[in-house]
């Protein structure tokens, strides 16, 4: 058994599974951002002990890590052009959750800006071919 077959041996996700996984990732990613913001408000400066002792920051980091790994798996099998628009939903969730948790206001320009970014990321997904293993990590 050579290594090349080991890499490609995994059972690929169906389209539906990839979609569902990426959708879950957007929710996890948004939750991670909210927790990191909550945690950062409680800290004076950044150090490793902060991450370990500051619960929202710790959970936020953990979610972010899990999210990144899940996303890599989902993007490995799924069609990037169809999954990118879903990934961009994270921007919508973060905005909505920020209104709820931090009393931030949704202005016209914020709404318009988010819509254009989501559309732009969708166009980018269509233009990106073939999918690379690290694509989408930066969402």
């Amino acid at each position: 058994m050579n290594a090349t077959t080991t890499v490609s041996e995994h059972k690929p996700f169906t389209k539906k599974q990839s979609f569902a996984l990426v959708f879950v990732c957007t929710l996890l990613g948004a939750a991670a951002q909210i927790l990191m913001k909550m945690g950062s408000a409680k800290m004076e400066h950044f150090d490793v002990m902060q991450v370990l002792t500051n619960l929202p920051l710790f959970v936020g980091y953990a979610l972010y890590g899990i999210n990144t790994v899940l996303l890599m798996f989902a993007l490995r099998d799924g069609e990037l052009s169809k999954l990118y628009p879903i990934i961009a939903l994270t921007y919508v969730w973060v905005t909505v959750l920020s209104m709820y948790f931090f009393d931030e206001k949704l202005t016209f320009w914020k709404g318009a800006g988010i819509a254009i970014i989501v559309a732009g990321v969708s166009v980018l997904g269509k233009a990106t071919n073939p999918p690379s293993p690290t694509a989408g990590i930066l969402e």
């Binding site: 909210i34 920020s98 931090f102 254009i116 980018l124």
Partner: protein, 115 residues
């Protein structure tokens, strides 16, 4: 303006480090093709390290100011990544990609300057 410019700069720096992290992870992933054990390479290690460094700047950046302004700025990462893909992997910048970049930048300007 409710969101300090210093916070925006920190998130901007985070997005640059993050995009370099992606470049090295990509280099690390290329090595995977020649064997699964190659997951441990200096490129992959540096990629993860840059992601962690990026997250430090990001957390410091979102401490003050509105998350609904600062988080969308993370999409700047797409812009850098495209630039590095062109420079380091010689991936072509097509018209579509160029339009996508313009849209993402327009959205960020709307939110950061007018939002």
């Amino acid at each position: 303006m409710k969101t300090p410019v210093s916070s925006m700069v920190l998130v901007l720096v985070a997005s640059i480090f993050g995009s370099f992290g992606a470049v090295f992870l990509k280099m690390g992933a290329e090595k995977l093709k020649t064997g699964l054990l190659n997951i441990i390479s200096w490129q992959a290690g540096l990629g993860v390290g840059l992601f962690l460094l990026s997250s430090v700047f990001f957390v410091m950046g979102i401490k003050n100011g509105e998350l609904s302004v600062l988080y969308p700025m993370v999409s700047l990462g797409y812009v850098w990544t495209l630039l590095w893909s062109r420079l380091f992997f010689k991936e072509p910048v097509t018209k579509e990609k160029f339009i996508a970049l313009g849209m993402i930048l327009t959205g960020i300007v709307f939110i950061a300057a007018l939002g």
